[in-house]
């Protein structure tokens, strides 16, 4: 039997039972679409998170007080708590020629009030370089003034949500407010957006780091953000930073320097694995659809037993019969897959048109893997019924009605 004849015969056998065929196709299509859509969701999430990181600024280093090393290394000999990371430490980092900007950060929560309106928000203490290091932009006014970071100026830059809550749409620039029991003057308003991992700057106030230290009565820094001179100098900058801090902390390596690359890499791996896991779970639905194909094919074989007997009487070989039924199963799987992939892309397109903030991204491997798996299941689950048909005894098959 010629392959084209096998194909047309199989196709005609399928079209002879349209309802059954459509239902099986639908199951296969939905399963395939689920795999593709879920992996698009995972990939979208991955890109989203990576984008957020990129927004933090490239060639960024984050210095965290205390040692959080996972790479082994000696535990401190004396069980002393790590030293605070101080403003002096932060300023000292600028001595490295690989360090371009430094933004020390203090974080706390405090009540911000204007007249009778008040709101408990995050207060972030930093310096003038913070806006560049974090790549933020202003909607109005100006950012914290440059100058001696030890000076506790009573000025504040507000996020959009906070400004809206306190000033009800009026311009906050030049207005006065209280943070805790201290008075501040609003000098700037951040642009919208600024939602990024872990901190929502839209509902926060940024004040000079010295003011924040006074407000929270804490000389220690929460983090120091460092912008390195370039991507290639990240590692040398990290080494310099460790050396400078060690020198200032009596030889103790008591800070952790996180490079953005390392963070990115970790998140990338976690989210990649998550995507695969989700796609894998969706692939189970493909297996279910495969069982459905098997079921349909088994029904088809038992309904067409006399036909198989006839084919054999007409001289069909086992492999002709096997080919016919396997082709039917494969056609179902292939058509279902194609429909499913089309469905998934349509779904992604619709979703992305609806929610521009979070974009689904179909990873290249997803449709390929879905197609492979579904055609694989089609073959696998089609094999049993097809073999049953091929091995039927012709005389008995003919006489079965």
């Amino acid at each position: 039997m010629q392959p084209t004849d096998t194909l047309t015969s199989a196709a005609r056998a399928l079209t002879a039972h349209p309802t059954r065929t459509w239902l099986t196709l639908a199951a296969m299509a939905f399963a395939t679409a689920a795999v593709v859509l879920l992996s698009a969701l995972g990939e979208g999430a991955r890109r989203y998170v990576l984008d957020e990181f990129m927004q933090l600024g490239t060639h960024l280093l984050i210095i965290v007080p205390g040692r959080h090393e996972t790479t082994g290394g000696m535990p401190p000999l004396f069980g002393e708590t790590p030293r605070d990371l101080t403003l002096g430490d932060a300023q000292a980092l600028l001595r490295s020629r690989h360090v371009e900007r430094v933004a020390p950060i203090t974080v706390g929560a405090a009540e911000v009030s204007v007249g009778a309106l008040s709101r408990e928000v995050t207060i972030l203490g930093s310096t003038a370089d913070f806006i560049d290091v974090r790549r933020l932009t202003l909607a109005a006014g100006r950012f914290l003034p440059p100058g001696d970071p030890d000076r506790a100026l009573p000025v504040a830059v507000l996020g959009q949500t906070l400004a809206e809550a306190l000033f009800r749409g009026e311009s906050p620039i030049g207005r006065r407010l209280r943070i805790g029991d201290r008075r501040f003057r609003v000098i700037g308003l951040l642009s919208a957006g600024g939602v990024s991992l872990g901190s929502n700057l839209a509902d926060a106030a940024i004040i000079p780091v010295a003011s924040a230290q006074a407000l929270f009565d804490d000389p220690g820094l929460f983090r120091v953000l460092v912008q390195a001179g370039g991507r290639e100098s990240l590692d040398t900058a990290a080494d310099d930073i460790r050396a400078i801090i060690r020198a200032r902390h009596e030889g103790e390596d008591d800070v952790t320097v996180i490079t953005q690359d390392a963070l990115l890499g970790t998140f990338d791996r976690i989210l990649g694995a998550l995507t695969l896991a989700v796609a894998g779970i969706a692939a189970i639905s493909l297996a279910v659809a495969g069982v459905l194909i098997m079921n349909v094919m088994l029904v088809s074989v038992s309904q067409r037993t006399p036909e198989v007997g006839l084919l054999k009487a007409l001289g069909a070989r086992q492999r002709d019969v096997l080919g016919l039924f396997l082709t039917e199963a494969l056609l179902l799987a292939c058509a279902g897959t194609v429909a499913g992939i089309a469905l998934a892309y349509a779904g992604v397109w619709l979703f992305n048109a609806q929610f521009p903030a979070f974009q689904l991204v179909v990873p290249v491997w997803a449709p390929l893997a879905a197609a492979l798996v579904s055609i694989g299941t089609g073959l696998l689950f089609g094999l049993l019924p097809a073999r049953r048909a091929a091995r039927l005894d012709p005389v008995r098959a003919l006489n079965e009605a």
Binding site: P306, K312, R317, Q318, P394
Partner: protein, 221 residues
């Protein structure tokens, strides 16, 4: 040329063994026209299935055109069926979703013949059965007699040497039965070996040879 020697066919039914054929000898020359007759359960269909290589005897020898068939692998037997044997069944066994022409084309398709050749041979086979105007009708749009003639066209489209018919008129009225028998006899007149199983005395008498069977053996020839 068909030579059967000492053919045995037994069926195990529960713990009982049914002897469908016992020590059967039979020789058919090319161009023979034989009617196989006998009571129900005498083994006529079993004999025909063995002749058609659809079934294997438990013992004995079956030579078809000099080829010992009993020990051939299934693939080779399928090929012999494809090339040398045509079947006509009481229940027609047409595929309902295919047209008359497509049903007739089936053996050629299975044999992997090229499309052009298939078209010509199908047209010729349908023409010979007087079915040209019905080529595009599906079986449910045809009468019983027409269906059986489609089945005959299908059985002969590969020009086999041997045509086996198991009660071909069993589902037909007298007139269409006669049409079918006439068609078969015309083919026999062209040199085809024809074996017809029938209960019909009237049909049996038209055959050159009458093989009477009882209880799995040939009573009279």
């Amino acid at each position: 040329m068909i030579e059967l020697h000492g053919i045995e066919r037994r069926f195990q039914v529960g713990d009982q063994v049914v002897h469908a054929l016992r020590d059967l000898d039979l020789t058919l020359a090319d161009g023979d026209y034989a009617a196989v007759m006998g009571p129900s359960g005498s083994g006529k269909s079993t004999l025909l299935n063995i002749l058609g290589l659809l079934d294997r005897p438990d013992a004995g020898s079956y030579r078809l055109d000099g080829i010992e068939t009993t020990r051939l692998p299934e693939e080779r037997r399928a090929r012999l069926r494809r090339e040398r044997i045509g079947f006509v069944f009481q229940a027609f066994h047409l595929i309902p979703r295919l047209t008359a022409a497509e049903n007739v084309e089936l053996p050629l398709t299975l044999a992997g013949r090229p499309v052009r050749e298939r078209r010509q041979q199908v047209a010729a086979a349908l023409e010979a059965m007087g079915l040209t105007p019905r080529a595009d009708h599906r079986p449910d749009q045809l009468s019983g007699g027409q269906r059986q003639r489609v089945a005959i066209a299908r059985a002969t489209v590969t020009r086999p040497g041997l045509l086996l018919a198991d009660e071909p008129t069993g589902n037909l009225d007298r007139a269409s039965g006669d049409d079918v028998i006439a068609a078969l006899e015309a083919l026999n007149a062209q040199g085809l070996t024809l074996v017809v199983v029938t209960h019909d005395q009237h049909l049996g008498e038209r055959a050159r040879r009458r093989i009477h069977m009882d209880d799995g053996a040939v009573l009279a020839d």
